[in-house]
Each structure stands twice: as structure tokens, then as C-alpha cells.
């Protein structure tokens, strides 16, 4: 996605997420037990532009997959989420799915073992009753070509395919309905490095041919820096930093982003990165209600951090926005 393409595209947002929070109740003792409330997402707001690769990065348990489920309408949440002007509702559930599709992490369990690849790819068309039988077969064949698989794979079963090939089928299936948004939830985490690279190239190649926005969710900062135009760093359900991938790579503002960046083992043994680590688990600060979620383990915490910091834009005029949630930058 070369630089000049995204700024020229019309700036209308394909996805608007405003003040989304979500929590689930863990009832410990069945119907009679008390219900413990676990807050997952805390007032998350972000927009994804048309035709953009948006990266959402964070460690496991930070709520990034929950946000994906909220967008797909699988999980209840407060706040509003609109995709291509439509918000999810019981009434337009089927209509809504034509605009949002997803690719999941584990290619092994993402395909029904009892169905052939051709049937899996045709299912979206069957559900929405698009085109005649021949048209659907043609579309399936064409999609197999697009994702770099031979048409003969249509009659094969998932167990006869390798991990990389299965993920290609999942990507193909998610594009059958030509959605405006595709959510890739850790799409290459379960794959080997060389296969992952092929899939990343596939995303880029398809993105040239069809126009769709992609929410790329990953725990690997390097992949997100490589692939995405804009990224958001999520910690404990809150957005810590958000902005252009290049800008954030060059000067990561939030301490957590810097720690994430330093923690990723880099290929060049020589290049010493500014060592930055969590506060040791042993002497993490006690939990303070309403404080910045990162207060407990932030190596550069101040007293004000006991109050929740605002999300402030530290970008100079004219430059794309670069939001940070940290008192050191407000």
C-alpha cells in the first residue's frame, strides 16, 4: 500500500467505533452463584478509512479479539459501531454480514472437515442466494485463482491441504461477498515464517485488485508496522497510542509501545535498541481504581498517573493525528 494511495483516497470512514465498552459476567456457581463483572473494553473509539490497512496490536487478553467480535455483532457491547453506515441489529443481521467478513487465526479448525473446499467457498453465495448455480461455480473457481490455489483444489477436503493453503481458502471465503471490511484476527500467527510471508503478500496483492478495508489484529508489532497504514496499541481494553504506523515506529510516545517494540527480538544483533522493560512483576505497584491501566507496571509513572490520562493528539499541524494516552504527553 504505497504512501500516496491512502491520502488521495476519499477520506470517508468505512468503520466508525465510538465509546465501545464491554464486559462479561463470570458467574462462578451456576444459576445461584454471585456474578463477577469483568470489564474487557473501556471506552474504545477509532475509525478505519476506506481501503485502509488498520493494525490493532496488543498482548493476549488486552481485548483485541473482543473488539473484533463486537464489530461482527457476536458479543453485546455499549457504544456504537457502524460499518459502511450500517450498525448491527437483529433485523439486518444477514444484510450486515455482506459488509463485514473475517479471517481467523487457526487454519486447522477454520474449515469444516466434512465439506469440500468448493462447498466452503460457495456457502456465502448459497446463504445470500447470489447468482445461479453456474455463476457461483465460476465465482468459486475465480476466487481460488485469486488466492493462488489451483482450481482442482475445489474437490479436495481441508485435511488434504497444508496450513498456508487452508488460510488462503479462508481468505477467499471472506472475500466472496465483496465486503467493505475484512477483519484478520491473528491471521498469520499460527503459520510458519515463510508461509506467513506468502499470506502477507497475498493480502497486498488482493488489496490492489479489490478495494476493501482491513482490520489486521496481531500481537507482533513488526508485522503491523510492515503491513498497516495506521495502527492502534491496546492495553487492558484501552487504546494507549494510535496513529500512522511510520510515525509511531519512528518515535513511539507511550512507554508501553516502547516496551513492546524493545521486547521484539530483532534480526540485527548489532543494533542495540533503547532497552525498556516492564517494572519487575515482584514490585509492581498496587492496583489503583480509575488510574491509567498501565500505572501498575509503567517504568516512567508519575503521581498524576493515578488519574486516568486523556487521549491527546501530539502531532504537529498538517501531520496525520498521533494520539497518546499518557500524562507525559498531554
Amino acid at each position: 500500500m504505497s504512501e500516496q494511495n491512502s491520502s488521495a483516497a476519499a477520506q470517508d470512514d468505512i468503520v466508525r467505533i465510538e465509546h465501545v465498552s464491554n464486559s462479561y459476567y463470570e458467574n462462578q456457581l451456576g444459576i445461584f452463584g454471585k456474578r463477577k463483572k469483568n470489564q474487557v473494553l473501556r471506552d474504545v473509539s477509532l475509525t478505519i478509512h476506506r481501503d485502509e490497512f488498520f493494525g490493532l496490536v496488543g498482548e493476549s487478553g488486552c481485548g483485541k479479539s473482543t473488539l473484533a467480535n463486537c464489530i461482527l455483532g457476536m458479543v453485546p457491547f455499549e457504544g456504537t459501531i457502524e460499518v459502511a453506515g450500517m450498525s448491527y441489529g437483529k433485523a439486518n443481521r444477514k444484510e450486515f454480514t455482506r459488509h463485514v467478513q473475517a479471517v481467523f487465526q487457526d487454519p486447522l479448525s477454520a474449515l469444516d472437515p466434512r465439506r469440500r473446499i468448493g462447498e466452503i467457498l460457495r456457502e456465502p453465495l448459497d446463504i445470500h442466494g447470489i447468482g445461479t448455480k453456474e455463476e457461483r461455480e465460476a465465482k468459486v473457481k475465480e476466487m481460488l485463482e485469486t488466492v493462488g490455489l489451483d482450481a482442482s483444489y475445489a474437490t479436495r477436503f481441508p485435511r488434504e491441504l497444508s496450513g498456508g493453503q487452508r488460510q488462503r481458502v479462508c481468505i477467499g471465503a471472506s472475500l466472496m461477498l465483496e465486503p467493505e471490511l475484512v477483519i484478520a484476527d491473528e491471521a498469520i500467527s499460527a503459520l510458519d515464517v515463510s508461509v506467513g510471508a506468502q499470506i502477507l503478500n497475498l493480502f497486498r496483492k488482493i488489496h490492489d485488485e479489490k478495494d476493501f478495508a482491513m482490520l489486521f489484529i496481531s500481537h507482533n508489532l513488526n508485522v503491523v508496522y510492515y503491513l498497516c497504514d495506521r495502527i492502534a496499541v491496546l492495553y487492558y481494553g484501552e487504546i494507549m497510542e494510535q496513529g500512522g504506523a511510520k510515525e509511531i515506529y519512528d518515535n513511539p510516545a507511550h512507554p508501553y509501545t516502547r516496551i513492546l517494540q524493545a521486547a521484539i527480538p530483532d534480526l540485527k544483533p548489532g543494533k542495540e535498541k533503547k532497552e525498556m522493560a516492564f517494572v519487575e512483576a515482584k514490585n509492581a505497584r498496587p492496583w489503583v481504581e480509575g488510574a491509567c491501566p498501565f500505572y501498575r507496571r509503567c517504568p516512567r509513572a508519575l503521581d498524576e498517573c493515578k488519574k486516568a490520562p486523556p487521549l491527546t493528539n501530539i502531532a504537529k499541524e498538517g501531520e496525520p493525528e498521533h494520539l497518546v494516552r499518557c500524562w507525559r504527553h498531554s
Binding site: 451456576g30 444459576i31 450486515f96 481467523f104 474449515l111 469444516d112 456457502e123 456465502p124 534480526l267
Partner: protein, 339 residues
Amino acid sequence: MSNKPQKTESNKGKAAKAQASSKTASNKGKSAQPRLHPTAQEPNFISEGMQRQVSAVSPEKKTKKQSAEDFREFIRSGRLELLIGCVLVAAILLLSLGSILYTPYDINFMDITSRMAPPSAHHLFGTDNMGRDIFSRAVTGGRFTLLVAVLTVLSSTLIGCVLGLFSGYAGGIIDEVIMRVIDAVSSFPGILIALIIVTVLDLGRFTIIIALCIMFVPSFTRIVRTGTLQYKDAVFVRSSKVFGASDLRLLLMHVFPNIFPLLLSSVIIGLSNAILAESGMSYLGLGIQPPTPSWGRMLYEAQSIIFKAPWYAIAPGLMIVFTIVGFNCIGEGIRKKYL
């Protein structure tokens, strides 16, 4: 595979990257190398049956360890059980269904002259205390017992599937309520339920089927429910939900086909349990009512003259055992093959 023209990209790249890619670039420059080789050329994933043995292996002499391993694989494949099972069940079915067309003697014909005769050419399994031919009665009895078993299993599987799929998929309160009812019903020992039903309804032919059906619904419900819970959150179910599939479609097109192999093996094993239960009930006089013969009833009658005519008990007994072994073998074979 048409290769769409590559979009030109700037040639910047780190030292390692440039060095690496120039090494891997074939004749043309870096940007011209087709990044995404059509995977069709790659050695396609050869399915189990077609792979070739690797040349680097020592000549094929089976060491003890290798033959032990082959034997273990043979057991795991379950082909042995399937074989035995099919042979036994085929024999029993042949005899029982054959009895509709032909039985050596009429089941109620009493040959007073040769009462309690030992097994002989005339009477394959001998005769009972009233001179009736045991073989004919055993074979005809088999037909009724099998009929009852099949009907019971079919009906209870149907109900079990509906309950299991629904409570497994719906979850929450519905699941809790259905499961509490199932637990309560299954806390009655099977025979007990049958006894209640039989006392309450008069002893028609169908009371035993209803009784046995209620006895088997809990176990099938549990099997289907566990299967549903296992597949309900499978990724492929979630991805077809994202395609926009309705809950019903998910259940019938994705969840059920994946539960089916396990269900099939439990149904067949259920058949053998149904036969066991039915013959038990008939033994107590609460199952198939005389004069229609049934294996259980014959065993009850044989008990009084066991000393003088032991073959009267052994014949139906062995018929029951062979049928049940047959069905259990098939069920086990299917379970091993599919799971």
C-alpha cells in the same frame, strides 16, 4: 495462472535484505521476480494412499519393533471389530428375517412325542417341555426383539437429537432446565422406568417400546449435547455465522454432520443395549407378551427345566449374546475408524 503485471516498487531494502534477494533473484532484476509463485507448481499434498516410500530406508526387513508397531496400528484401525461385527449381525439378521418366509416347524406346533428332545438333525436346537421346536421359536423371537430394539433406538435417537442439539446450542437457562430433567429421569434405573410405564399403561405391544424409549432418551441426549457443545464454538461454525448463516443452518449443516459418526456408533451400541433391556423385560414377563415368542421369555420358561433340558436356555441366550457382540463390534469399529 495469469500473472498480473507487478506494480513497480522502489528498490530500497536493507543490506541483508538486498543481499538476500539478489542471491535468490534468478535472471531478471529484483522487482521483476514474480513474488507469488502460483502454488499449483508445488508438489501437491499427496493424500495418505499415494505417498512413495523414501529411498533412503534400509531394505524392508521387519524388525520386532516395526511389526509390533504395525500390529498396534492394525488394532487402532478397528478393521478387526468391524469384520467380526458384520459377520455376526449378518448371520443373525439372515436367520431372523428369514423366519418370516420359512421356519422348520410352526412356532406353536407341539410334538408331544418328542418333548425336551436334545438337539438333533430334526430339531437343530432340540425341543422345549411342550415339544415345540426351539430353533423356529428362537429365530422368530429374534425378529420381534430386533424390531422392538430398532424402533426404540430410532425414536429415542430422534428425541435425543432434538433435545441435545437444542440444549447444547441454546445454553443458559434452557440448557440448565433440560439437563436437570434429563438427570432426574436418568436417576431412575432403566428397568424401573419400564416397570412404571408397564404398570400404568396396559401391556400392549407398544408399551415396551415407549418404556425403553424413555430409558434411552437421556443417554442419547447427553451424547448429542456434548457433541454440540464441542462443535458450537468451533471456528468453522463461527466463520459460517459471519457469512450470515442462520442458527438452524449452522446446526444442521455444520454441527450435526460432525457429530454424526460418534452418534452412529452410539446408536449401534444403543441397539445392543436395547436388546439387553428388552430381553430383560420379557424375562420378567413385562416385555413382548406371549404367545409371540421372544428371547427373554424363552429364557424364563427354560429356567424351570434347566436341569433336564439345558439347551432350551442356551439357545436363546447365545442368540442374544451373538447379536449384542455383533452390534458392539460394529459400534466400536466405527468409533475407532472415525475418531
